[in-house]
Amino acid sequence: YSQEAPKKVTIGMAIHGTDNEYWNQEAEGGKLFAASLPAGTAEVQVLTCDGDDAKQLNGIKALIAAKGKDVILYVDPSNAPNTAAIAEVCEEAQVYWVSVWHLAKGLDPTKYKYYVAHSSVDGFTQGYQIANAMFKTFKTPGQGKILALQGMLGNDSAVERYAGLQKALEENPGIELVDTQVADWSPQKALTITETWLAKYPDIDGIWCANDGMALGAIQALKAKKLNGIVKTCGVDGVSEAIKAIEDGDMVCTVANNGFLQGGYMVAYAYAAYTGKIDPAKLPFEKRLFLTKAEYVDKNNLEEYKKAFMSGTPTYDFNNLDYPIAGPFTLKK
């Protein structure tokens, strides 16, 4: 083909899978950004990994092999340590990339030329936040017994959010965590476990769930015993059904991770570096690593939230790269 044609960039969106609303939002965010570019200059390719580090790395290498340097990557890492391996691959291939959520311990993106930016949502804070909110809704606020449903063992988000719960428990000595189980993010498992629990702990005040899916499973078990709304639940993610559950009073709160925003803006960072609009080396630390906003949602701000996010896809001005920066990020040592 001719040299004159504008270079077409492939935006690789490395997400976990297509079977979850949030992950699809990330991919959609990438597509929103691509749509904001002149037609024909960018295409989006979605890579899935199902939580498997090897599959994620292999997919990224395959994409780079297929498209050469005209690739930019958005990575929602299967696990934190994978960012280090990906950083190495991208550095060698000279491919600009960004990551979200997790960062390998000891990895400092600003030491890399092609690792443009990393943004995260603070899983620890999320777990902490929903726990505190839930405790406040108990008959005697701050007093009661709770159960906890954790996400998949060995998964970063699961670990972080659970640590958040632990901190909340420390600060609320009136709350007793009577039991905790792992439901692997699965509503089905959450349903089963909750059913069993309800046989043993009929007088429970709340169930802390590490994500909305599990909370929704637990709610079905509660509904069968007509305990929904009486036993409080909470989750993280902000999937549409959880919002509905909050509206119905079955759930106390959730923290909505805004996939559109993360996907769209982070890709915008990578693209800006790719086109030379920004030089990562010259950006200060806090503009390369930052926390993005997660929307805490409960009964009080439900309507606002729905207006902003649920009726249609949000629109963003991707030229304003500072927009998603909501707080400072600290590197784990």
Binding site: T10, T18, A27, Q45, V46, L47, T48, D50, G51, D52, D53, A54, K55, L57, N58, G59, K61, A62, L63, I64, A65, A66, K67, G68, N79, A80, P81, N82, A84, A85, A104, K105, G106, L107, M152, L153, G154, N155, D156, V159
Partner: protein, 316 residues
Amino acid sequence: MPKIDLKKSVNYLSAVSIIVLVGVFSAINPNFISAANIKNILSDVAPILVMSIGVTFVLLIGSVDLSVGAICSCACVMTGTWFSQMGNWVIPLVLLYGLLAGALNGVIFTKLKIPSFIVTLSTMSIWKCVALLISEGAPQGIPLELWPSLRWIKHSFWSIPIVFAIGLVVLGLHYVIQRQTIFGKSVFAVGANERAARIIGLDVLNTKMFAFVLSGLGSALSGVFFALILKSSLPTIGDQLVLVAMAAVVLGGTALTGGKGSVLKTLLGVVLVLVIQNGLNVVAVDAFWQQIVFGALIIFAVYLNADKGGRGVIIK
């Protein structure tokens, strides 16, 4: 006898599927057969290959080993976690672990006479637990400052990554075991007709035992590979590999019913699976469609390999 040779070549029909797929993929995107991508595929193949080779022997005796994924995870975690203290010396230790884990399967299987499916399902859950305990439930990266001592894993001879080269050596060893040792011959006899194997005077119990040991060893090596390539300890890395490894072995042409197959065929099976996986990304199949296309291609590939000769042969 040319006739026999022809028959034999039919045994390696998976090669045809590979060639067909490589052809299709490279027609869609010529970069598929670029040196870089071939290198990608080969290094992706290595960990699954070493695991599948061991699994081949277990399937050859007609049993199953569901614990390979968990042993792999556990090995990956051990390597990743202890690398900071032991450096590369952790590798032999982890291989020893794999050997013992395989032997444990073998002992429970042969001494307690419990179906292998149950034995390995149970040890799978035990090793999963151990992996989580060692890693304290979360994936840990190998500290960046230690990376220099891991450089060797990225070495490659021309376009052949060192991991694949090691995989080939392992394959070669197993091929010799399969063809030229008493154990190898016994494996086939035990798988094809255990009653006869016993009467013939073969050591059935040790054969079974050894098959599980090899499977454990291979899985541990694959865990080591994952830890070194991904530079982290991942307690769930093996979860999805059990079915993938078994599928690759069967795709190569080794029968689940035992007694028929070869580790060489396993190489083809593994390559086939990873060519499909890699190809789907290289030719940019939509994510929503990837699983669908993957499944369809697998069925198509097995169909190409299926022995259409003997209608009398029973397919289970």
